[in-house]
Symmetry: C2
Subunit: 222 residues, 2 copies
């Protein structure tokens, strides 16, 4: 029986990945990383709500505490001395919300857990349009990482799956609607935890995606 793990941050991209994984695999576990980001409590709530929605058993959910990332620093998401900036428009400049090599840390942990539980697929909601400036959101990065998994695991049979990597936000919204994912339970805002700010990079891209898809975003904005 094929087992899959979904890296579920609680955002809309990872939610659509969860929808895909549940459509494609017999057994699906959800993995959440708390890396001490400003909205971590809110994101955790989305994780719980989505896992409840899909009736994922407690034993198939895992939260990994990555607050040790604060010890490394260098990002506005984890460093309290750096403010999260408002959306500045699309650019290829790496934003200051970048945690160096963060996706590799997350993927390594997820692959480790996948090996322990015997999962062979690992879904991640990385999206290129979202973050053209992040080097660890490029397709070539995931190809290279899959090679590391092949070389560095016992069986070499775990594969990273990136269903939304090259999709436009608009198409992710449409895909989610097709899969009937509960967008109302997701959280994307980097800045606020009560109502979404509507101003940060993540809110701006989400709002544009829903607008372009012609669908109303079901969450509340300030």
């Amino acid at each position: 029986m094929e087992k899959a793990i979904v890296l579920l941050s609680g955002g809309m991209d990872s939610l659509v990945c969860a929808g895909e994984a549940l459509a494609e695999s017999q057994e699906v576990s959800f993995l959440h990383m708390n890396y001490g980001q400003k909205t971590s409590v809110r994101e955790r709530k989305s994780f719980d709500d989505i896992a409840d929605f899909y009736k994922v058993k407690e034993s198939d959910r895992k939260i990994i505490d990555m607050t040790f990332l604060k010890q490394i620093g260098g990002s506005s998401l984890t460093d309290e001395n750096i403010d999260v900036k408002s959306y500045q428009g699309d650019s290829n400049v790496i934003p200051d919300s970048y945690v160096p090599f963060r996706n590799s840390i997350i993927l390594s942990l997820a692959v480790s857990w996948a090996e322990v539980v015997g999962a062979t697929k690992l879904y991640i909601g990385a999206n290129y349009e979202d973050s053209p400036g992040y080097p660890d959101c490029r397709p070539s990065y995931y190809e290279a990482f899959n090679r590391v998994i092949k070389e560095g695991t016992k069986a070499g049979n775990i594969e990273i799956v990136t269903p939304v990597l090259m999709m436009k936000k608009r198409d992710i919204v449409l895909k989610g609607q097709e899969l009937k994912v509960p967008f109302a339970l997701s959280w994307s805002c980097y800045k606020s935890s009560d109502k979404a700010c509507g101003q940060c990079d993540s809110c701006a891209l989400r709002l544009r995606g829903f607008r372009e898809a012609g669908i109303k975003d079901p969450i509340d904005y300030k």
Copy 2:
């Protein structure tokens, strides 16, 4: 000015890497991972002693707490329900002291810190003879990981350096002697923290290396 980071566990292989890095780079930082292994306090003492020996500034030392690895489990080094076995002779079987994909987690964290501090070289004392059964100690694994770094970091200019990867333990001992590294301050035993047990895989390989090099291992054994 070229900056290097050394992953210094406190064992003899990483100590020899530190000796190499100090001979080759102008500025060297030491990084230590505490992943909740049974001998973590003793290994930390070795890290401190070696950093003191080389007069590494406090600001150039970093300890990362990886005790969250216990949440993943699946290894006798971190799982208290699995005993560390005595040395069973050389084999290609992956030992139960294997933490799935551990080196990738460690390398990812180290690369993240390297990017923050601007280091371009990352020394790791992985040794193939030590652990032929560990998939993440194969040269092809490090080649693949260097590719991930090239793809997944801002500047793509951090390189993993594995000076002892294909060396016999005997030759590592001889190299260490040539570099005048303080072997007496290192710790290799997986099992004990007062005197080395002399029985576990790590002790057995260390003792054989010193014996074959014709040099007396300066640490105490039970």
